[in-house]
């Protein structure tokens, strides 16, 4: 239920910002010529992974990615990372461990019609991870009948597919370096788990469940055509002074 409320809130914010952008554009009645078809490429790294590792013992992920830029609006991209969880139960001695790669492919769309270096992004991604996980309960005991034992599972196979809906923004820090963040609503499409139970954490997805939220803080490096220019204005783009 809280997930629904939050997603509704995010959708409302997105719609408001979209309508404001549209209204603003209509008001000024500026005709902004399209940017070149191919505006360059970029590579990026997620800075939130090390932050998560520092503040949370639940899980973390180290992630890098690359994207292309078409017309300064369309950004097909791929993201690769390694997700890790080394978790001990808060009120028992159970342990869970996994460390595995994951990838996502998708596209971002820049809603900002001006080519001024600031971007308001919305996007969609498909994510996949195949991984192995371990679970151990060293004090697994029958509460009524006699007997107890060490319940240990090693190398259980897991797979998961999911979709991510993202909203975010980014700006130019200096020259070819940019900083951006995005928030993500993740919906699990399908998972395969062992007969003994589902994994606590899915690399790249987060805490296992039908849906979850996440986010990244990306340090972005423009490469190729855009970085050579060292600015974000395009030859045939018209930018009027406010």
């Amino acid at each position: 239920m809280p997930h629904r409320k939050i997603s509704r809130y995010i959708c409302t914010l997105l719609l408001i910002s979209l309508s404001l952008t549209t209204a603003n554009a209509e008001k000024k009645k500026e005709v902004v010529p399209p940017a070149p078809l191919f505006c360059g490429a970029a590579v990026f790294a997620d800075l939130s992974g090390p932050v998560m590792k520092a503040v949370s013992s639940r899980f973390d992920q180290m992630e890098v990615g690359a994207r292309l830029n078409f017309r300064d609006h369309f950004f097909p991209l791929c993201e690769l990372g390694i997700g890790e969880s080394d978790r001990e139960g808060k009120e028992n001695n159970n342990t869970f461990h996994t460390r595995a790669p994951y990838f996502r492919v998708g596209m971002d769309y820049n809603f900002n019609k001006k080519h001024n270096g600031n971007r308001l992004m919305g996007g969609l991604r498909y994510g996949y991870s195949a991984f192995k996980y371990d679970f151990e309960d060293p004090t697994f005991a029958d509460p009524i009948y006699a007997g107890n034992g060490n319940f240990k599972l090693d190398n259980q196979q897991g797979k998961a597919h999911w979709l991510e809906f993202t909203v975010g923004c980014e700006t130019k820090l200096w020259s070819f370096i940019r900083l951006g963040w995005n928030l993500r609503f993740k919906a699990r499409l399908k998972q395969h788990a062992s007969d003994f139970g589902s994994p606590y954490y899915i690399p790249g997805f987060g805490k296992n469940g039908s849906s979850t939220f996440g986010g990244t803080l990306n340090l972005i490096f423009d490469v190729g055509r855009t970085s050579k220019k060292h600015n974000q204005t395009y030859p045939n783009a018209l930018i009027k002074k406010q």
């Binding site: 808060k90 869970f96 697994f140 009524i144 009948y145 319940f151 803080l217």
Partner: protein, 166 residues
Amino acid sequence: MSKNILAILAPLLGITLLASCESIDCTVDNVVTLGIGFYDAESGSAKTISDTLTVTANGTDSILYNQGSRVSSIKLPLSYWQEADTLNLTFYDAENDASHVVTLSVKKTNTPHHESPDCPTTMFHEIKEIAFTSATQYVDSITLTDPKVNYASQENIKIYLHPTSD
């Protein structure tokens, strides 16, 4: 430029807080029990027994169900490690001061089940075979309706009581 950087960095605090939030959400109803329903052998409808019911089992000193009266269904824990459980159902007829003991044998497989490491590990079962013995004509027959004993199971075994059991 500095405004842009501030605006861009502000959500970092949110992401950090989001990452540091932690909640334990285990299944609320995380007790795995065998569901048994009582039915009238003639009509086939659910039956509320008027006698007092107590259930014990071989392999434990615990009383699994203690002196229940006017019940139409019960839930009993099964053993984690045994391949077969023997449940002793004692129906006490206070009016006639008579006891009817029905021994229910349940052969099963046991599969450990885990969720989050924060949650207790439990044991799921799959019933392979059931049988009963009774010295008196109290139980007419039994049927296995759902062999899977897990969080979701409601009723696994139907016990049809003989019409003279009242």
